[in-house]
Amino acid sequence: MKANRLHEVRVMYYDVVIFDAASVALGIASELKKKRKVLIVNRTSMVAAEFINSYKPGRNWEEEPETDLAKSIAEKLRAERLITERAAHFYAAGPVFYKAYSDLGVDLLLETEILSVEKAGSAFEITIYNCAGFGTVKTPFIIDTTDEGFCQEKSLNCLLVNKDKAAVFPAVSMQGADFFPTHDEIVNSVIMRYHCPPDASLAEARHGLIELWQGRPEVLSDWKIASIGLYFDITPRAVQEVGQTKCIIPASSYDNPLAAVDAGVKVGRRLADDL
């Protein structure tokens, strides 16, 4: 085959392309799809990873969501006892968010890298790479919910567990880490946040976290790592730009995934009318 066949391969056209299958993207797409052809491109196989796979503790989950989509997700999380009066276990909410994405009815490409984004006339030409190789997507509007470019602070979090249900997590301090109780009614667990430089890779941060825990004080010896995040807990800079052709909304800007879905729905409604 000759190289010029490159141009014969079909280009995909969408009204809107959303980068990352985040919680906020779910809300945005749920509204935009009513009027626009939408594609979500996600680098990994994880959805809503900024809360679920980051072990981000989240805040203000007791506040009642405003939109129907966020309310329906909250209802499922309560039914699964992933939200209680005392606690929220968003890291366990993977199946609920996968179900929400399954029901969304929007084109979704997981495990797809975005290689480049270039302006081509009034549209963007996006080069993607996935299991089918290179591909091209054209769109007049991009919504970027990725976090990494807007990172102000980040940590790699892990879930610590003590088999002794009655054990109390001791009041210790470890340089570079802090701890959050999970108030879990099933397992005695604590979330540890290991703070790392904004440019650290996941592998580097994971090694740092493990080495920190290897040197933990004796009083923590019965606390074991059950799982380490596969996504950073990110505090992004206060960024939210809605332009004529591009919208930037870092996924980790919200207190919890329900608030993110709520915010996404509102953005989606506005854009559906404006675009």
Binding site: S45, A92, Y98, Y101, G133, K224, S227, I228
Partner: protein
């Protein structure tokens, strides 16, 4: 030099004069189950290694797929030391050894000077003729080129081989489907112990980005189904890497077939021995090859384990130089792919490929030119290769642990055919063929019903048409009796009889098959309510009527075979098949689970095959 890459699923090629950012003796594409050990083994031999991995760490299904235990395979090789170190680290600081394995292997590779690119993908390959010279890689937001002496494709999906233009095979002959895939959910019990649920999630085409995405989302969403739900435990995450059991396989310098495995036709220069049963997972056996069905269905020997020697020739794509594979995409047929895929075996596959590559690099020759004895000596040192790993076929589980001796003596065969565990005798009859036919015919009239019916099955397996009236009688008086040779995957004798009627092309059985497939009252038979509860011996559960599925799936496919062999009944046969699947009856009678689930799709695979068969026949 040429540059080959995938675009829109097709291979493209252009002339290239690349600038390489760096040269490595060896590039390992994919640092999963096999690739991680390929990189480690090669780095230990002192060659420079670049490892490229799409995940954010090493280990593949064992770490990012969280399949942290072992199913068969034989201990030995570099993985033993890693496992021991990981176990010690787990005791000190982890609930499981998954994170420990990642950390230990990554650190060892770094200490050995290997360069690892995580969250990176190979996007193209540079070749001179059929010799691989390097790759292009997307990592950290940019594309870079790296050159190498040898490349090991350890992607599991044969990604680099596909780009390089190697000849590949995929799926089964009947409908192209590969084995079902899984979603793995990790939970903690209230005691803080790790527990894992993985259920077959249906079927996926991992080479189609839309279907791959659908499959991932669907499988993880299904964790909400009541069947997989346990509110007593705390889910801590869903493994990000789904468990895909089969994909494209290379056409190698030597491909290992199931016939080879059954007959013991093996390579004389093995690098390691794989060891497992034909762990095929799917329930739609009727769509598999006759070789597999004779073994798995007709002789009910599904859980018998085999040692399979794997030589370097099965790791070299046919016609290519300086390119090896390590992983489940090695040169095996679809049937054998279900056996040569266990984690320990693929660790060894990687280790072997890494050693061969390193020796070839040091000698400046192709991997195929490295003296076998030199490779073997290194692999023996680590325990990756050990003559004692080769064992004769055997049952090897807590239900039954025994070496298999094929029978020659008619009296011994008769004795075993008089039991509900006749599998060894049945396959012995297949091996003996006409030599045992007269004995079997004598036993057909036995007053011992077990002996008479099992002799009918045995005669059918030998291909003797005298069994046909007796087979029809078994099907006419069909029941829920199943053989008990194995744990879990035992087969119904009535379903076996149906399979044999199809295999022998028996046109006279068409009315019987029509009754099974089309009668409104078929499902009212008591037999379909005999084994509804989960059962260690019979693979039924609350949401899958195994008895009904075995019978109707075999009946439908038997009828397609009979039509193919008897053109005179084509019109009638096709009408039966079309009537059989004109409504959802067979779905409803088999499972209450929705479309997309493994259970539903098992029926759907049969339906789709039948519809495709009918379309093809109507074109004739």
């Amino acid at each position: 030099m040429i540059y080959r890459y995938l675009r829109g699923g097709a291979v493209h090629e252009e002339k290239a004069a690349p600038e390489f950012a760096q040269h490595f003796d060896l590039i390992v594409a994919g640092l999963g189950t096999a690739g991680s050990y390929a990189a480690l083994a090669a780095a230990k031999e002192g060659v420079s290694v670049l490892g490229i991995e799409k995940n954010s760490g090493i280990g593949g299904m064992g770490t990012f797929g969280y399949v942290d235990g072992y199913y068969y395979g034989v201990e030995g090789g570099l993985h033993l030391e890693i496992d021991q170190q990981a176990e010690a680290m787990r005791e000190e600081m982890f609930v499981t050894d998954v994170e420990a394995k990642k950390y230990i292997m990554e650190k060892q590779l770094e200490d050995l000077g290997a360069q690892l690119l995580f969250e990176a993908v190979v996007t193209g390959v540079f070749l001179e003729g059929k010799t691989v010279k390097g790759v292009s890689v997307f990592s950290q937001g940019k594309l870079s080129n790296y050159s190498c002496n040898i490349l090991i494709d350890a992607t599991a999906e044969a990604d680099v081989c596909a780009m390089a233009g190697c000849e590949l095979e995929c799926g089964r002959d009947s409908d192209g489907k590969t084995r079902p895939y899984t979603s793995v959910k990790i939970s903690l019990t209230k005691e803080g112990e790790r527990t894992r649920t993985n259920h077959d999630s249906g079927y996926i085409n991992q080479y189609d980005p839309v279907d791959l995405s659908r499959g991932i989302v669907w499988a993880h969403a299904c964790q909400l189904l009541e069947e997989f739900h346990n509110p007593q435990n705390r889910v801590i995450f869903i493994a990000p890497q789904i468990g895909i059991r089969e994909g494209k396989r290379i056409v190698a310098e030597h491909n290992i077939t199931m016939e080879d495995v059954l007959r013991g036709n093996f390579a004389s220069d093995p690098l390691f021995f794989a060891y497992a049963d034909f762990d095929k997972h799917g329930k739609d056996h009727a769509l598999e090859t006759e070789t597999l069905q004779d073994w798995y269905v007709a002789c009910n020997l599904s859980t018998v384990c085999f040692s399979v020697p794997v030589s370097l020739k099965s790791l070299i794509p046919k016609g290519y130089k300086f390119l090896l594979v390590a992983g489940r995409h090695l040169g095996v047929d679809h049937d054998t792919a279900s056996l040569v895929r266990m984690k320990r075996d693929l660790h060894k596959c990687g280790e072997s490929a890494g050693v061969c590559a390193a020796l070839a690099i040091k000698k400046g020759v192709e991997p195929a030119q490295v003296p076998y004895e030199e490779v073997k000596a290194i692999l023996e040192e680590t325990g990756c290769f050990n003559d004692a790993h080769f064992v004769p076929p055997r049952f090897d589980d807590r239900y039954r642990r025994m070496e298999i001796q094929w029978l020659q003596d008619p009296e011994e065969i008769k004795t075993q055919l008089s039991t509900d565990m006749p599998g060894i005798a049945l396959y012995s009859c297949k091996l003996l063929g006409a030599k045992i036919s007269e004995n079997l015919k004598d036993w057909l009239a036995s007053e011992d019903e077990m002996l008479a019916k099992n002799s009918t099955i045995a005669l059918g397996i030998t291909g003797d048409p005298e069994c046909l009236p007796y087979l029809r009688e078994i099907v006419k008086n069909r029941d829920s009796f199943y053989y008990k040779d194995c744990r879990r995957t035992n087969q119904l004798r009535s379903a076996i009889a149906i399979y044999l009627l199809g295999k022998l092309g028996d046109a006279e059985s068409v009315p019987l098959l029509e009754e099974i497939l089309c009668s409104e009252t078929e499902f009212e038979r008591e037999m379909y309510r005999d084994h509804l509860e989960p059962n260690y011996m019979f693979n039924s559960n609350r949401n899958f009527n195994e008895v009904y599925f075995q019978i109707i799936s075999q009946a439908a496919i038997a009828l397609t075979k009979i039509i193919s062999k008897n053109p005179s009944i084509r019109h009638k046969g096709l009408a039966i098949l079309q009537a059989a699947f004109r409504d959802d009856r067979h779905f409803i009678n088999t499972t209450s689970l929705p479309p997309g689930t493994f259970e539903y799709e098992s029926v759907n695979n049969i339906k789709n095959y039948v519809e495709s068969f009918c379309r093809d026949q109507l074109k004739v």
